[in-house]
């Protein structure tokens, strides 16, 4: 039996009718047309479906849509402010951390969750923070560099703001 749920995604409230067995990933992609989150392995191993729920990196392929009610969901589509890329997105582009791009939305969000908790991570801490996101193209080197560059940019912005 379909349930009416209110999903708050990227600051907007969406009213959707869902079956209880639909995953958040399916609802984001197929009902809200937010196709940033990807169906990679669909079983919690690859991280391509990563979204932030109340600030924490979680796997939308293993989250039932009905459970996401009342939470703040952030997808990659919610990162850029108007036309300006988030520093993490900009760093990924400028450092060459994107090849096919399939892992990128999940990586960027996992990186954001990491930097929100630990604004000045070491290289090892970045690796650990991204350990739930697999990439078949890049070999991770540029991705880690991009996150480190982004952390510096974001720290400098914090300094200027103070």
């Amino acid at each position: 039996m379909m349930k009416q749920v209110s999903l708050t995604v990227n600051g907007e409230v969406y009213e959707v009718a869902v079956e209880p067995w639909w995953t958040l990933l399916e609802v984001l992609r197929e009902k809200l047309y937010l196709t940033g989150a990807k169906r990679g392995c669909d079983r919690g191993d690859c991280g391509a479906c990563t979204v932030l729920i109340d600030g924490k990196a979680k796997l939308s392929c293993l989250t039932l849509a009905v459970k996401a009610q009342g939470k703040e969901i952030l997808t990659v589509e919610g990162l850029a402010q108007d036309e300006e890329l988030h520093p993490i997105q900009r760093a990924f582009v400028e450092q060459g951390a994107v090849q096919c791009g399939f892992c990128t939305p999940g990586m960027v969000l996992a990186a954001k969750a990491l930097l929100d908790r630990n604004p000045t991570p070491s290289e090892e801490e970045v690796s650990e923070g991204l350990s739930g996101n697999l990439c078949r193209c890049t070999g991770y080197t540029k991705i880690i560099e991009a996150v480190l560059v982004a952390s510096e940019t974001m720290e400098r912005r914090q300094e200027t703001a103070r």
């Binding site: 067995w21 979680k58 293993l62 989250t63 650990e128």
Partner: protein, 293 residues
């Protein structure tokens, strides 16, 4: 790969009583959902197809780590692995549990997966089990008829099997107080898989008397080397009450390895049990020595 979740009726009780009542009503036709990192995968694989899914996750006040009146620790069944890693109560003698939880899965899985779910899933390679075994954890199991406490040592009955009845829920993990000069260590090797499932895991808890270098108490537990997580009690006997000397630790580690009953990659697992047990014993003793108590 695209999985289609099987259909089910979704129930979201708001209180423990409601959840227990639903469970006693539907019993084996229902499955309980906590973090979803094990159950939803099994459902996608059609290894579990419950008619009813009881979402335990909305029940309040089951996600906690707190001290109890005896100076021990109480952990709610819905505490996530990450919250255990982050808690500043899971330190000192208890830190071995946080070390194991830090190793589990990936950041996303640590944010979603619960310690209760990990134990009830009862995988032979559950990383949270060896630390909880050496800390002599007890589990609080509730049903509509009442509740009971079961020592974790008696909880697992086989791979993915426990003593839980089909109308019971795990609500709390109870850890007794640890004496001063207690140190722990968790050592592991993994299969090189996406989530690095543990191939051999060894936890050691040591209580030392630093005046004379004697190991007053020692507990050794392993995962992924037997049908269930296990204590190496013969090895503990060899270590308990003895003075720490190099040859002794080797001996204890060999005894621990001899107690394992690995099914696959048995020879390697047995040999690595000894290697990791030796490392864990050394680290646990060093940590115990450094703790002010």
């Amino acid at each position: 790969m695209i999985y289609r979740m099987p259909k089910f009726e979704y129930l979201a009780p708001k209180t423990l009583e409601e959840a227990l009542s639903l469970l006693s009503q539907y019993k084996e036709r229902a499955k309980v959902l906590a973090g979803g990192t094990d159950l939803l995968v099994r459902m996608k694989e059609r290894k579990a197809t419950p008619a009813y899914l009881i979402d335990f996750g909305n029940v309040k006040d089951l996600d906690y780590v707190r001290r109890d009146n005896e100076g021990g620790l109480r952990i709610g069944a819905l505490a996530t692995h990450q919250s255990i890693v982050d808690s500043n109560l899971v330190r000192g003698g208890y830190e071995v549990l946080a070390d194991a939880c830090r190793k589990i899965g990936t950041p996303q899985i640590k944010n979603m997966g619960t310690i209760g779910g990990n134990l009830c899933n009862a995988g032979p390679s559950a990383d949270s089990a060896p630390p909880l075994l050496v800390l002599e954890a007890k589990l609080k199991l509730a049903s509509a008829k009442g509740w009971r406490e079961v020592a974790l040592d008696r909880f697992f009955t086989g791979p993915f099997q426990t003593v839980m009845e089909d109308d019971e829920l795990l609500t709390e993990i109870i850890l007794p107080p640890v004496p001063p000069r207690t140190g722990g260590s968790y050592q592991w090797l993994t299969k090189i898989t996406a989530v690095d499932e543990t191939l051999v895991g060894v936890a050691v808890l040591a209580v030392v008397d630093d005046k004379n270098g004697i190991v007053k108490d020692a507990r050794i537990a392993l995962c992924s080397v037997a049908p269930t997580p296990m204590r190496a009690k013969k090895a503990e006997e060899v270590l308990r009450g003895r003075e720490v000397k190099d040859g002794l630790i080797e001996e204890v580690a060999m005894v621990a390895a001899s107690e394992t009953r690995p099914r696959s990659r048995a020879d390697y697992r047995r040999r690595m049990s000894a290697v990791l047990a030796k490392r864990a014993i050394k680290e646990a003793i060093a940590t115990a020595m450094s703790h002010g108590g």
